[in-house]
């Protein structure tokens, strides 16, 4: 790990080991909410020196290229937003050829998020991506509400177990399963993921939502439905983080509406071992570093015990 584990003010060491990765601090990004390549073009090499996250999670890639959904793709809601991006990506080959080499130059561990529409596709993704040395871990997106298969695989414990059975043998790299909140009870699904050999679970993905255009009275988004994220979902994400962390012993990466260090601390209090920043990146591209510093300050206020609990190696 080359990342400074200290906050600029000389704060405490927040480094941790998580699912086989070494992280300088317990804050990463949510898949699809930060594009390191586009950010390098926008901000230049300054981004390398103060990369906002302790690991970088790529946007979800699929076996074949996807353009994504028809615009409009964004809609603002009270304390949140709906997106219907639709997993645009260059496909497995395009990703390996064009994006992976550049992502491999980042100073932080790289987690590649993958999705597919059947077990074999998933297995192929995991095997091919997992074999690349630039890749530190894989995240299985079984939860994207925009794509039918994702929903199905991640909303049923048996489906989740079967998927893991297929993909787990294909790589020795850590596998993180990203859970969907569109379920009655997230605990059995987290348990299925753990029993299937997942090294960590991350949650929550977005909640299925609809936007109506006031003038026309018609759906506002090109794809009709989308996924809700931002502070509006935080209390739901906290509940599911608590449910998941009480039912599995692999580490839990909590996310959903985190805006500041105090919000992050709530997730640790609910049992998370690491947090991820999603929508807040859109408002502040260095939200990850800010949350790290605010978290360090909030922990310091709580005293030494609190700090240890957060940075302790995952149970």
């Amino acid at each position: 790990m080359t990342l400074a584990a200290q906050s600029p003010g000389g704060g405490p060491d927040l480094s941790l080991r998580l699912a086989g990765l070494t992280l300088g601090f317990p804050v990463i990004n949510g898949s699809g909410t930060f594009d390191a390549i586009a950010a390098l073009r926008t901000f230049g090499d300054g981004l390398r020196e103060s990369f906002p996250f302790a690991a970088f999670v790529s946007k979800t890639i699929t076996p074949h290229p996807r353009g994504g959904n028809r615009p409009p793709r964004l809609w603002e809601t009270p304390a949140g937003m709906i997106n219907s991006i639709g997993l645009p990506n260059k496909g497995l080959e395009g990703f390996l050829a064009h994006d992976l080499p550049e992502l491999g130059t980042l100073a932080v561990p790289l987690v590649v998020s993958v999705a597919a529409f059947d077990h074999d596709g998933f297995a192929r993704m995991v095997e091919t991506v997992g074999a690349r040395p630039e890749v530190a871990a894989l995240e299985l997106n079984v939860s994207c509400p925009n794509v039918k298969s994702g929903c199905v695989m991640g909303s049923d414990p048996r489906e989740t177990a079967e998927l893991l059975e297929h993909v787990r043998p294909r790589t020795g790299k850590p596998l993180i399963v990203k859970l969907t909140p569109n379920v009655s009870d997230i605990a059995p699904i987290a348990i299925a993921a753990e029993q299937g050999g997942a090294d960590a679970v991350s949650l929550i993905n977005t909640l299925r939502a609809l936007a109506i255009d006031h003038v026309s009275g018609r759906p506002a988004l090109g794809a009709i439905r989308g996924g809700l994220s931002g502070p509006a979902v935080r209390a739901i994400a906290l509940d599911m983080t608590h449910s998941a962390s009480s039912s599995v012993s692999v580490p839990v990466i909590g996310m959903g509406g985190i805006q500041c260090g105090r919000d992050a601390l709530e997730f640790f209090d609910a049992g998370a071992n690491c947090v991820a920043i999603g929508t807040e990146n859109f408002r502040d591209p260095v939200a990850g570093l800010r949350v790290r510093d605010e978290l360090a300050a909030a922990l310091a206020e709580r005293g030494h015990g609190a700090l240890q609990r957060v940075v302790a190696p995952a149970r």
Binding site: T33, R66, G68, N281, P285, V286
Partner: protein, 298 residues
């Protein structure tokens, strides 16, 4: 009512290639900038932000702005929640001027900022306009023809200043005389059109453009390649310009808009359909060559 049930991803358009374009990179991180200017310009408002640390933007680039306080100020935490995109309209020393048209909660809040209040600014973002001689298929010595509709004049103001003497004509369309007062930002040599005819040509600004191009080609059948059109305005206007320019083989650079969440390529929300797929306007725009747009880009 039953809404259409389809939520199948539209797969065909693909993702467009990254655009080089002229670009001044943004410092990493948003900056809290005090308001040092607030004045009405016709029916718009010019808000100046003192951006001491920031670099000088290129004409056509934009910033993501949000008030530092009172962003999301309705009862019950309603909008605005995300920052909003604004083209830089003028640069005066370290002061960045933005021309704001109040159309919703975000623009309302920004336009109401008091002197000394602070706004978050992230930028400069995106790619700027390319000068006539750098534009593909333009003739050597080509001159600029600026066409603006409504608030679309904002990026044309700074571009007009940058091009200095190299502008052959400026044609602007507005709803009415009150809005048209903002034309003064582009100097005296401006052709005007208004919807209600209260000043200038009664009709569309694209009429003025056609006329101008007609006149050019009258003079010399090959002269249309000696102008490059730079346009910003409502989508219907830009599409008309795209068609007019395509027909006549005139290169055109359009400053497009799309709802944005991040402004730096993170969300994939701001796409417009081009001939080679969906292009993110925030990193590969907002300036797009008319010839790159898909017929059904709107």
């Amino acid at each position: 009512m039953t809404l259409p049930e389809s939520d199948v991803a539209e797969l065909e358009p693909g993702i467009a290639a990254a655009q080089p374009g002229p670009r001044t990179p943004a410092p990493l991180g948003r900056r809290a900038c005090p308001v040092t200017l607030s004045e009405p310009v016709g029916r718009y408002r010019m808000i100046g932000l003192e951006d001491r640390g920031g670099p000088t933007p290129l004409p056509g680039q934009f910033y993501m702005l949000a008030c530092a306080d009172g962003w999301g100020s309705d009862l019950g935490g309603e909008r605005p929640y995300l920052p909003r995109a604004f083209s830089v309209c003028r640069v005066r020393g370290a002061r960045l001027d933005f021309l704001i048209d109040v159309v919703g909660p975000g623009t309302e809040r920004l336009a109401s900022m008091a002197l000394g209040e602070r706004a978050w600014a992230l930028g400069p973002l995106g790619i700027g306009f390319t000068a006539p001689d750098g534009v593909e298929s333009s003739a050597p010595g080509a001159r600029a023809l600026l066409v603006g509709g409504g608030i679309g004049i904002a990026p044309l103001v700074i571009w007009n200043e940058a091009l200095a003497g190299n502008v052959s004509n400026v044609a602007l369309g507005f709803r009415d005389e009150e809005f048209a007062a903002a034309a003064s930002l582009l100097g005296a040599n401006v052709s005007l059109a208004t919807d209600d005819g209260s000043v200038g040509h009664a009709g569309l600004v694209t009429d003025l453009l056609s006329e101008q191009l007609e006149r050019n080609s009258d003079r010399n059948s090959d002269r249309n390649s000696a102008v490059v059109v730079y346009a910003c305005g409502p989508p219907a206007m830009l599409d008309a310009i795209r068609r007019i320019c395509t027909e006549r083989g005139v290169p055109a650079q359009l400053a497009l808009e799309q709802a944005m969440a991040c402004g730096y390529g993170a969300c994939f929300g701001c796409v417009v359909r081009t001939r080679d797929g969906y292009r993110r306007l925030c990193v590969d725009g907002p300036i797009v060559a008319a010839s790159d747009l898909h017929e059904e880009w709107q």
